[in-house]
């Protein structure tokens, strides 16, 4: 493995980790709302959350490109703040976050649903406000599912391609992830490069998914 290759691996790993942390607050809030609350239009929200999971990733990437393009409203504001997204590492972060969010939300939602609401209610009678109940009762009891969901999201982020190449481009040293590098190396005929990165990709994905399964496995009730 060359220094360049290690740079790609390192970049992919930290952007994936960062995206997982980034989606955590919003993802958990959404998962909790879906688990505990009901409101008109809830099924619409559920559908939108699941969309990136089933839509072609390039299509999702195209939507992101349209929303964040420089001449656009949001892109313009970001440009003035010197915070361009398209064709920068921030676009990679964006693509990974959007594509892996559904996995986190789905796992966390199931985990929250499995927490006995009675426990939350009793905690409130003991004087705990909503935030305290959430952080001291709900989250700890749902922690296995949440961690499993985070690992799943991380694994998904590691392997993201379609949306990333659309909105971040394949710029070596700046936005190139492992999957983008494999793609480029195959295109230019540098197979040995590609196979090495493929190997790393498989190992990373394996570890992440294995860890995820460990946490998501249902505890056998005695």
């Amino acid at each position: 493995m060359t220094a360049d290759e290690w740079q790609v691996v390192w970049f992919t790993a930290w952007v994936s980790a960062l995206s997982t942390l980034l989606i955590l607050p919003f993802g958990l809030a959404l998962a909790w709302a879906l688990a505990r609350r009901d409101w008109p239009g809830k099924s619409l929200v559920e559908t939108f959350v699941t969309l990136p999971l089933v839509m072609p990733p390039v299509a999702t990437g195209l939507i992101l490109l349209e929303v964040f393009k420089k001449p656009g409203v949001i892109g313009g504001v970001l440009h003035r703040l010197n915070c361009d997204v398209v064709f920068t590492w921030r676009a990679v972060l964006l693509a990974l976050s959007v594509m892996s969010m559904p996995l986190l939300v789905r796992s966390a939602r199931v985990a929250f649903e499995e927490v006995n609401p009675r426990l939350e209610q009793i905690a409130r009678t003991l004087g705990a406000g909503s935030w305290r109940v959430f952080f001291t009762i709900t989250v700890p009891l749902a922690s296995r599912g949440i961690i499993g969901g985070m690992l799943l999201a991380f694994a998904r982020a590691l392997g993201e391609f379609g949306a990333t190449i659309m909105v971040a481009g394949n710029i070596q040293g700046k936005t190139q992830t492992i999957s983008l590098a494999i793609f480029e190396n195959v295109q230019i005929g540098d197979d040995s490069h590609a196979y090495r990165l493929l190997g790393v990709s498989v190992v990373l994905a394996f570890l992440a998914v294995w860890g995820s399964e460990f946490f998501l496995r249902r505890k056998k009730t005695t």
């Binding site: 393009k69 892109g75 064709f87 710029i171 295109q187």
Partner: protein, 253 residues
């Protein structure tokens, strides 16, 4: 009774569908992305007179070459540079007797239609106001390779390389400029003419730019060698030449 008639009809129908290709020849052409519009127009004319069907696979010449190396079905390869054609020739994948240089082109720097950037020379690209420049991937795609050659000749490449946003093919570079997501891009003059959302900021003078040649050849093991040869020979014809010139290409002999 009814089901018997239905089965008979279905069989006759499928027979008709499957034997269709045997009647008229279908020629598969893998061609550089920059040839998209011109070739489609030429093929439309050709199909009327010959009765054959021309199917296109447009993309970066480098990608297409890889596909042919991997055994993709193609009758003709029309590349944007000699390098990709040479790669196939070395591996004995084309018929060298049929190889000919068909077209020439020139490079231009384009900017988004509403851009206020002024590019009067190659060194203007090194200005701070130009943050990101779209190139077809300079490592392998002909348009990018040509652009890199041009800037290397002027010893400006090291300053410009950090700003490069490499794209899959030259049309993707054009699209990036058209969308406004980059400040400028280097594409063929023929591409700039296609899009209304970009304007040419600078034309690379012939002296500075590299020699651009678009060669075409028959792919060995083509499934339709006669029909393919027919179309290949049509490309340097007067009729085809008129269309190419219309789109801004230079003709070679």
């Amino acid at each position: 009774m009814k089901s018997n008639r239905l089965t008979l009809f279905a069989m006759a129908f499928s027979l008709a569908i499957f034997t269709l290709p045997l009647r008229a020849a279908e020629v598969m052409v893998s061609a550089a992305a920059s040839l998209t519009d011109s070739l489609k127009a030429i093929a439309a004319n050709y199909e009327k007179s010959s009765g054959d069907t021309i199917t296109f696979n447009f993309g970066a010449s480098s990608t297409l070459a890889r596909q042919i190396e991997a055994g993709a079905p193609a009758d003709i390869f029309f590349s944007a540079d000699e390098a990709q054609m040479n790669a196939l020739a070395t591996n004995g994948l084309i018929d060298p007797a049929t190889r000919k240089g068909v077209l020439g082109n020139s490079l231009v720097v384009v900017v988004p239609g509403d851009s206020k950037l002024q590019i009067t020379s190659a060194s203007d690209l090194t200005n701070a106001s130009v943050k990101q420049i779209a190139f077809a991937d300079p490592k392998t795609v002909p348009a990018g390779v040509y652009a890199k050659a041009w800037l290397t000749k002027l010893q400006l490449w090291p300053l410009i390389e950090p700003k490069v946003v490499p794209t899959e093919n030259v049309r993707a570079a054009l699209a990036a400029v058209a969308s406004g997501n980059v400040d400028a891009g280097v594409v063929y003059k023929t591409d700039a003419a296609i899009s209304k959302k970009v304007k040419i900021a600078y034309e690379v003078p012939h002296a500075d730019g590299p020699d651009i040649t678009y060669p075409a050849a028959l792919v060995k093991n083509s499934p339709q060698p006669e029909a393919a040869k027919k179309f290949l020979d049509y490309l340097p014809s007067k009729e085809a030449g008129q269309v190419f010139t219309q789109y801004g290409f230079l003709l070679r002999e």
